[in-house]
Amino acid sequence: MVELSLLNSRKNKLKFSIIVTLKKEVLDPQGKVVQNTLNNLGMGNLKDIRQGKYFEIEIDEIDQSLAEKKVTQMCEKLLVNLIIEDYKINKI
């Protein structure tokens, strides 16, 4: 029983990663401070640092394109602030 449902659930699940970053021209106060700190800590050859958010999402769905649509929806509805952020979805 247990194994069966486990198998089932494995089959049904698809996993995605979402990377959300600030749009290029939007001020990134955090990134600035982190970069300064790393420089002060002696890691001077750091050229650039961009910060963002990361999500790993598992959804109950067999159809990949359907699943992707759902994930996109989640991004646009909640996870991403489209006015200042960009996002990328990857199947993992």
């Binding site: 106060p29 955090q30 401070v33 982190v34 700190t37 002060n40 800590l41």
Partner: protein
């Protein structure tokens, strides 16, 4: 008693704690974070605020500043260290206190008066309080949700290193009296030698009846002993 208050860019309760210390007759000095040595002090306070904007993780960047290595040295030689709010977060980032402070469970900044219970009054910080005394103290934070691993939690309990827990006005410690989701309602802890106290509530805000109450006074007068 000589005290020093460390000021980071973004600290903002530095003046408040200085006012409290001076009112309690400490000889206090403010120490700018870029300084490389500490004035001789019996007590070092790391105040509340948003050091470095709380960017990355609250307390993380201040935890890497120059002056912090001096604080660590002082702590190891037995100097008393008090971290309030952001100061507590900084102390966990430096490793002087174990565990960490996660975001409040409701993901919102919380400012209100809450009740906390004195769980150990056998310390330099709490000797003037009664055991199990219930205090009303103001909290103001985004990340006050204390978390630590099982092993450390056991140690906190068996070694009696929990200074304060959130409770209701009758002293009951439960889910409803936990404002931020902290594990076991923990509001403040000591290190194993009990010369370091980190706490989320702000005792320096409770020293003046005109403003609030005087439940914070005994923390400072304990230190004067």
């Amino acid at each position: 008693m000589k005290s020093s208050v460390i000021v980071f860019p973004g600290s903002n309760c530095d003046r408040d704690i200085a006012v409290a210390l001076e009112k309690m007759q400490f000889k206090n000095k403010m120490v700018w974070h870029k300084e490389t040595s500490l004035p001789k002090s019996d007590l070092i306070v790391i105040p509340g605020g948003f050091s470095y904007g709380d960017y990355l993780r609250s307390g993380a960047i201040a935890g890497k500043s120059l002056i912090i290595s001096e604080v660590i040295k002082a702590a190891n030689s037995g100097c008393l260290i008090l971290g309030i709010c952001n100061g507590f977060q900084i102390l966990t980032e430096t490793g002087l206190l174990k565990g960490t402070l996660l975001r409040n469970k409701n993901l919102k900044f919380i400012n209100k008066d809450v009740n906390i219970k004195v769980l150990n009054n056998k310390s330099k910080f709490t000797s003037k309080y009664k055991l199990n005394q219930v205090l009303k103290i103001n909290i103001a934070h985004n990340e006050g949700n204390y978390f630590t691993n099982e092993k450390h939690l056991t140690e906190l309990n068996t070694e009696r290193l929990i200074a304060f827990k959130y409770c209701d006005k009758n002293g009951n410690i439960n889910e409803n009296s936990n404002p931020n989701g902290a594990i076991d309602n923990i509001a403040g802890i000591f290190n194993s030698k009990k010369n370091i106290l980190g706490m989320m509530p702000h005792p320096e805000r409770m020293i003046d009846n005109m403003i609030s109450n005087t439940d914070g006074v005994n923390l400072f007068s304990s230190l004067l002993n």
